[in-house]
């Protein structure tokens, strides 16, 4: 909630700052338009906003994980570290209530720690010491060193002067002191606003893990092998899907018989999510490469077939007529008119298919695989290696984005007339 509020605040403040301070100087054609609200062509992405958006995500990530990349004054309040103290009031049969102090040393998990040293103090209830890791909690048996133990009816009735009973808790300046059903005190040091590394590691930990896995590998394979296997499966599956799907789509676009024969199959298979095929593919082909490639082949096949069919159907009949009356044969019309005319549709389909394949391969690897980006993050999650999981997600996103950019570049180079006819 706090993170979200801060994010909105950054959004609003940077908008105001950029709008009234920076953007006054722009004088292109669009800036002369008086009607911009509702004019889609006048809306272009504000690059300053994009940069601030990405930076603020990393800033929030760093601030709420206590990252060393973010200056200390920007850090969100961290967990309490140091010596915490609270007093308790104990009663025992036939004894006057007595106060004693508990000193708890809260330490960063993973560092060595000694018990704090304190004097036993006056009265029959003695002062206690204990250690608790930050973000953890610990039961403190305060009765153990007291002169009258539980056998003599030792009960804690108050903490810092506030009455407490089993199931209740008292808030102290160092954290929450609760009481278990049996009457044992439970100290939970203040957690602050930062995230614990096992839930969300700071950016530098993810980066360090990236370096480590890139050089040493994870689960017997290097990072490049994991990513390479995923990419390899996508490319091979997509290749075969396109190899079969495009001619199938052409046949469906050109022949009544093919259209009638394959229409029910294609229309049925298209809405079936490829993920739903994973169990069947595993039963038939196992969890090896063949199964993955069959799955991706099926994911790409229908998309490419439909794209090719749409491409053929989209040929303006005048172009076909023109080609016939210029003396072209059927084969020449196929080669010089129908195929090139369908390329824009096929490229659109290929971009969709590549996106679907990339998503499907990661999901298939999550289910079962020996290598691959999805397998890497799935195994890491079982050991709560959150840094590997986050690193994997970022890499999967970067590769997916990269694939789309490459497809767009290929499209621009190969079908420059797309959208301009």
């Amino acid at each position: 909630m706090i993170v979200f509020a801060i994010y909105i605040a950054i959004f609003v403040v940077s908008f105001v700052v950029v709008k009234f301070v920076v953007h006054k100087t722009v004088t292109d054609y669009t800036s002369l338009k008086t009607v911009t609200f509702g004019d889609e062509s006048a809306v272009t992405p504000n690059r300053i906003a994009s940069v601030i958006s990405v930076l603020s995500i990393f800033l929030l990530w760093g601030a709420f994980t206590g990252s060393s990349y973010v200056p200390g004054f920007l850090h969100a309040p961290g967990p309490f570290i140091g010596d915490a103290a609270f007093t308790y009031t104990a009663e025992a049969e036939g004894q006057a209530p007595d106060d004693a102090t508990v000193t708890v040393r809260v330490f960063e998990v993973g560092t060595d720690v000694d018990d704090p040293e304190v004097a036993p103090g006056e009265g029959w209830a003695k002062n206690d010491v204990d250690t608790v890791g930050a973000w953890r909690s610990g039961l403190i048996r305060v009765d153990r060193n007291d002169e009258f133990g539980r056998d003599e009816g030792h009960t804690v009735v108050a903490v810092n002067g506030e009455a407490i009973a089993p199931g209740q808790s008292v808030q102290t300046e160092f954290g929450r002191v609760g009481m278990s059903p049996k009457g044992t005190l439970n100290f939970e040091p203040a957690k602050g606003w930062q995230m614990e590394p096992i839930w969300l590691p700071p950016p530098e930990a993810v980066l360090a893990r990236l370096g480590e896995i890139a050089s040493e590998g994870y689960r017997d394979s290097t990072l490049w092998e994991h990513l390479g296997y995923s990419l390899f499966r996508v490319i091979v599956g997509f290749f075969f899907g396109a190899l079969v799907g495009i001619p199938l789509g052409y046949a469906m676009g050109l022949s009544n018989w093919f259209r009638g024969w394959f229409d029910p199959i294609v229309e049925f298979m298209r809405p079936v999510p490829p993920l739903a095929l994973i169990p069947l593919v595993i039963i038939w082909a196992g969890i090896g490469e063949v199964g993955k490639i069959i799955l991706l082949f099926l994911a790409a096949l229908w998309i490419m077939a439909i794209a090719a069919r749409a491409g053929v159907s989209g040929v303006a009949i005048a172009k076909v007529h023109a080609a016939y009356s210029l003396g072209a044969s059927k084969f020449q019309i196929m080669r010089h008119v129908i195929v090139p005319n369908s390329l824009p549709e096929i490229f659109t389909g290929a971009r969709v298919a590549m996106g679907v394949c990339w998503g499907t391969v990661v999901a298939a690897e999550l289910v079962a695989a020996e290598k691959g980006a999805g397998m890497m993050i799935m195994v890491a999650s079982k050991f709560q290696l959150t840094d590997i999981v986050i690193m994997g997600i970022i890499l999967i996103g970067v590769i997916g984005f990269g694939i789309d950019i490459l497809m767009r570049m290929a499209e621009k180079a190969l079908v420059p007339w797309k959208g301009r006819v």
Binding site: S325, L326, G327, H336
Partner: protein, 268 residues
């Protein structure tokens, strides 16, 4: 027997709801080689259907078409077509579009190169050879379509409202170009248009068609096309006969349109 001969052509479209539309009924006409005929008529008079049958894209339900003594059975390079909207191939540059016919016929560049370049000069696109066709204006695209048709050296050129989508100024320039190309190449041309002026200016013969069923209403022989070759078309339009004919034909078409409207109102 040279020239184009259309004999007793009828065309009936059967609709899925059981009714049928008589698009053409008993259309007969002869075109000598090198004649330019413009076809005029209200919408629904079957002029585009007629052109599509001559081009070979449609088979008539009755009648036949012969060109230079042989029967027309399907589309062929001997009958070139120019469409309202270029129908150009975007994936080819201007020169590849124009040379499409010869290339499909398997000819080598040394056989067609000069001819194609000459045609590009004639239509004023010498400097746009390498351009992509989608970068050209509508008038330029139409000139590419004309050159593409001529590069294939057809016996008959069929034009389906080739200038309909152009602005008035470009249209006038293109009308001059069509006349010039007609005189230079001596092709037989059938030109469909919606504009009475255009039909008068370009038609050596002018066919007025009537709708429901589509049939020949009247035919004219006109001097304006010959007058307009390499001359100022605006001067031709000032000719007293031109204005007279224009009024006569406009009135004729108006009457037909009113009759259609009247019939539509009756049935409604």
């Amino acid at each position: 027997m040279s020239g184009l001969s259309i004999d007793n052509l009828s065309m009936r479209f059967d609709l899925p709801n059981g009714t049928s539309v008589q698009a053409l009924k008993d259309v007969s006409l002869k075109l000598a080689e090198g004649e330019l005929m413009s076809v005029l008529g209200p919408s629904g008079c079957g002029k585009t259907t007629l052109l599509n049958i001559v081009a070979g894209f449609l088979a008539p339900t009755e009648g036949q078409i012969t060109l230079n003594g042989h029967l027309v059975k399907g589309p062929d390079a001997e009958r070139g077509m120019v469409f309202q909207q270029g129908a150009l191939f975007e994936w080819m540059d201007v020169r590849d579009n124009v040379s499409f016919g010869p290339r499909m016929a398997g000819k080598r560049e040394r056989d067609w190169g000069q001819h194609v370049d000459h045609l590009l000069d004639v239509v004023g696109l010498r400097d746009f050879k390498e351009k992509a066709v989608y970068e050209l204006s509508g008038g330029m695209q139409q000139r590419v379509a004309l050159a593409r048709c001529l590069a294939n050296d057809p016996d008959v050129i069929l034009m389906d409202e080739p200038l309909g989508a152009l602005d008035a100024l470009t249209r006038e320039k293109m009308q001059g170009l069509v006349l010039k190309l007609w005189k230079e190449t001596g092709k037989t041309i059938i030109l469909i248009t919606h504009s009475v002026e255009e039909a008068l200016l370009l038609g050596e013969r002018l066919l007025v068609m009537a709708p429901r069923p589509g049939r020949i209403h009247r035919e004219y022989r006109l001097p304006f096309a010959d007058m307009g070759v390499n001359a100022d078309l605006r001067e031709v339009k000032k000719h007293p006969d031109f204005g007279e004919k224009r009024e006569e034909i406009l009135g004729m078409i108006w009457d037909m349109e009113e009759e259609i409207m009247g019939r539509a109102e009756e049935s409604a």
